[in-house]
């Protein structure tokens, strides 16, 4: 590579090429992140200009905050169920929509539609479905499950959240799985067919092992998104009934901005970050071990 002569011109080039992104990245992500660590040791209330250092008091509070841990366990349950369902549905869709079916690109495009719409709007649309449409069907047909609004019952509201999540993300993950399926080498699939392998056997012993990289990406993406769910939670259930569906992200928001407990809120956010980072790194580490070469 031809490189510029002179310290000044090299510095100018560096500033031009990397300056804006690195400056924005540093001031928007790194500085607030570090400052956030500092905030967890103070008792700032969001209004006063001064705040005192309180040491590990906020962390001690977080450890004892039963509501935080309740919402964390709830989130964990929600994440496990929805990540599993999203990926199973997405993989099945991708599997059927890459077998050379007529109109498969039309189907793919259709299943992707929910991802065009943000969580806020989706939450409102489904709120209408759960509290009006299904109730009206229930009353007219006498099907008991739909008789009352799902969003008024803690357990059903939780499953309502899962249904909408699966509906929202399955199409996105499907697209990634389709990309993975297209990378499965055709020649070894043909060789397997000639050797008389059934479709199921090919799926189990060849396609699934070769698809591990796609599974890693999809599980990683769905973990990240479901752990941090906020918009959908806000507009579908508002955390209700009686805070029974308040996910951890919403809890942190309320602690900081509504209860004006910024120190505790930020401490909870950091604890959450450490837990999520730990879980995702473990996931990537263990699934990398499953990868095979084609």
């Amino acid at each position: 590579m031809i490189s510029e002569k002179g310290l000044w011109s090299r510095l100018r080039l560096r500033l031009l090429f990397t300056g804006p992104t690195l400056f924005a990245f540093a001031t928007v992500m790194i500085v607030p992140f570090l400052y956030g660590i500092y905030l967890t040791f103070t008792n700032w209330d969001g209004i006063s200009t001064t705040s005192t250092m309180v040491g590990f008091e906020n962390y001690a509070y977080v450890l004892k905050d039963a509501v935080f841990w309740k919402s964390f366990y709830l989130t964990l349950k929600y994440v496990i169920i929805s990540v599993a369902l999203v990926n199973v549905v997405a993989f099945l869709l991708a599997y059927f929509l890459s077998s050379g079916l007529k109109g498969q690109s039309f189907f793919r495009a259709g299943f992707f539609i929910p991802n065009l719409v943000g969580g806020i709007v989706l939450g409102f649309v489904w709120q209408f479905i759960f509290s009006n449409v299904l109730v009206s069907i229930g009353q007219k047909t006498g099907i008991a499950v739909f008789g009352t609004s799902w969003l008024a019952d803690p357990d059903k509201a939780f499953f309502a959240l899962i249904i909408v999540t699966v509906w929202q993300y399955a199409g996105y993950m499907m697209v990634i799985y389709v990309a993975g399926l297209m990378n499965v080498p055709k020649d070894i699939m043909e060789a397997a067919s000639i050797d008389g392998a059934t479709a199921f056997r090919k799926l189990r012993t060849m396609i699934l092992p070769l698809m591990v990289p796609s599974f890693i990406v999809c599980v990683f993406l769905s973990l990240q998104r479901t752990f941090m769910v906020y918009d959908l939670n806000l507009t579908l259930t508002k955390g209700g009934p009686f805070k029974s569906t308040e996910m951890v992200s919403m809890h942190v928001y309320e602690k900081a901005f509504l209860s004006r407990d910024y120190g505790v809120g930020q401490a909870e956010a950091l604890v959450l970050f450490l837990l999520v980072a730990g879980i995702t790194l473990l996931q990537v580490y263990f699934s990398k071990k499953l990868e095979v070469e084609a």
Binding site: M1, I2, L16, F17, T18, P20, T21, L22, A24, F25, V28, M29, P32, F33, G36, L39, W44, L93, L101, K102, G103, S105, R108, A109, G110, F111, F112, I113, N115, L116, V117, G118, V121, F124, V125, W126, F128, I129, N132, V133, S136, W167, V175, A179, S214, V217, Q224, M228, Y230, D231, T235, S249, V252, Y253, Y262, G265, Q266, A269, L272, T280
Partner: protein
């Protein structure tokens, strides 16, 4: 055997078709109900509208302050996406071609930072930018999108810049191009498919984002579409007709874009997932 196979194909097709209809059913419901009056919606949400009534749309259009929310969203999305695509490509290019320890560490830091969830940053972010009086301003928001969006973009570009032969750039420089000219005339055009991918991923995210704008934009004139939908819904909860119309108006722009660019969008998402 052949007939069995054909009928299998058909049943698969029909199962998928039923699945697809169930999948897009919420949107059909939205369209159908957006033309009905409140009473008709609550009485029978599944029935077709009696007449083609646009009153709900008029009401939602004015109450949501649609024109202002729409133009805010367009300005924010377009500028953020342009900045992210061009600037991140420049950074990734510089990182690949000048492989110093410092650049490697900076790149690693950016990739590692992708794991930080927004929730771990939002509180200090609001405090820092609030103290600097930079909140309630779309330019700050665009700047923040650059900060949050550049790590992934730099990461994706980094992978693709590596596949461009350095000889191509050297030839341009021997012909008298400066590094900047080489980037804009040779490298950036070659990266166009990657730029499309990055633009698509970022448009989907920024257009629909709620939490960040809700923290940054406080006055009602600054609101984006998701924000104005949220406040509109909060204020007029019983008015189902205008609500359905409002939700549809929010979805419509991106649905129209999808209708025309559907192939690219699906491909962009595919590309974005393969490192």
């Amino acid at each position: 055997m052949k007939r069995l196979k054909a009928s299998m194909e058909w049943s698969k097709f029909i199962v998928l078709l039923v699945g697809l209809v169930a999948f897009v059913f919420p949107f059909i419901l939205l369209i159908v109900n957006s033309f009905k009056e409140n009473k008709a919606i609550t009485a029978s949400p599944l029935s077709l509208p009696g007449s083609f009534n646009l009153a709900n749309y008029e009401s939602a259009f004015t109450k949501m302050n649609y024109v202002s929310a729409f133009s805010n969203t367009v300005i924010i999305t377009v500028l953020s996406v342009l900045l992210i695509s061009v600037l991140a490509a420049m950074t990734a290019h510089f990182f690949v071609r000048n492989q110093s320890k410092f650049n490697q560490y900076t790149f690693f830091l950016m990739v590692a930072a992708m794991i930080i969830p927004f929730q771990a940053i939002m509180i200090p972010l609001v405090k820092v930018y609030g103290n600097l009086h930079l909140l309630d301003n779309k330019w700050s928001l665009i700047y923040m999108y650059l900060g949050f969006g550049s790590p992934l973009a730099v990461f994706i570009y980094h992978g693709f810049v590596k596949s461009i032969p350095a000889e191509l750039e050297e030839a341009a420089m021997i012909d008298g191009c400066t590094r900047t000219q080489t980037f804009f005339r040779i490298v950036f055009p070659v990266l166009a498919p990657t730029s499309v991918t990055i633009a698509i991923l970022n448009v989907l995210w920024i257009w629909n984002d709620f939490l960040l704008p809700s923290l940054v934009l406080t006055s009602s004139e600054q609101r984006t579409l998701p924000l104005s939908t949220f406040y509109f819904y909060g204020t007029y909860t019983v008015d189902y007709g205008p609500l359905m119309a409002g939700l549809l108006l929010t979805i419509l722009p991106i649905l129209i874009v999808y209708l025309f660019a559907q192939k690219f969008i699906i491909q962009g998402v595919m590309q974005g997932s393969i490192k």
